[in-house]
Amino acid sequence: MKESMMDILCCPMDKADLELEVDHEDEDEIVSGTLTCTECGEAYPIEEGVPNMLPPDMRDDVPA
């Protein structure tokens, strides 16, 4: 994801701001890192450029 995405993303649960921690950056993209909610403290992982913004109870694959 590009850092500009921070302008439109929020915590899916309480809609509060997120704090970005970058682990690995490529030219213009954040490849891995963590987005942490400044309100509830929930951490959302960024893996292979894709932030996983599902609430924790939905992160496991949905179909059985």
């Binding site: 994801m1 450029g49 949905v62």
Partner: protein
């Protein structure tokens, strides 16, 4: 509808591939001049998001619940589509999006053809076909900018009137941009505005 969903829509079982509905939605949104910050919800293969990114200056974000879809959408992206794994528009801030585009799972569920895989999640919308559309309509107004618009694909199988009524209850007026008839359904692209 005893025939298997996978047979009707091809053999892919993990990620919904572009079909008539995807083309219709992309063309309607492009013809209407979609621009600004655009989110495609439930992008599947990433086709519609990529079409919009390729043809416009819009900043396009594609979301899906399905991790396999997120992967395909990212691979497909050649024009800067960014991918987020998300449930509907939940992780987007209030009032920031100029357009939200959605080809939802809309087929009424059929127990005889239940598959319990990602393709079923991509296709079926509960008993009445609106189990995903309804919560989407209830939340999408929150994330739209004041002049923002929703481009929503609906099918006659889902009940266009029921979708329009639910949108109206959330303060939207609906315009049908495109209609296309197929042997077992008519597809309509609705534009929702406040």
């Amino acid at each position: 509808m005893a025939d298997d969903l996978a047979e009707r829509r091809g053999v892919e079982t993990e990620v919904y591939q572009p079909a008539e509905d995807s083309h219709l939605l992309a063309e309607a949104a492009l013809a209407d001049g979609v621009s600004g910050t655009v989110v495609e919800v439930g992008t599947g293969s990433g086709y519609v998001a990529e079409r919009i990114a390729a043809a416009t200056e819009a900043s396009v974000v594609a979301t899906d619940l399905n991790p396999h879809a997120c992967e395909q959408a990212r691979e497909r992206s050649e024009h800067g589509v960014q991918v987020v794994r998300a449930d509907l528009v939940e992780p987007f801030r209030d009032g920031r999006l100029d357009a939200v585009v959605f080809n939802p799972p809309y087929l009424p569920a059929d127990e005889a053809a239940a598959r319990n895989d990602w393709m079923e999640v991509a296709l079926t919308g509960g008993e009445d076909g609106r189990a995903v559309i309804d919560p989407f309509l209830d939340d999408v107004g929150r994330v739209l900018a004041p002049d923002g618009a929703v481009y929503l694909l609906v099918s006659s199988l889902t009940g266009v009137d029921a979708v329009v009524d639910r949108a109206a209850a959330n303060g939207f007026s609906a315009v049908a941009l495109r209609d296309e008839s197929f042997p077992f359904e008519t597809l309509t692209v609705l534009k929702l505005l406040r």
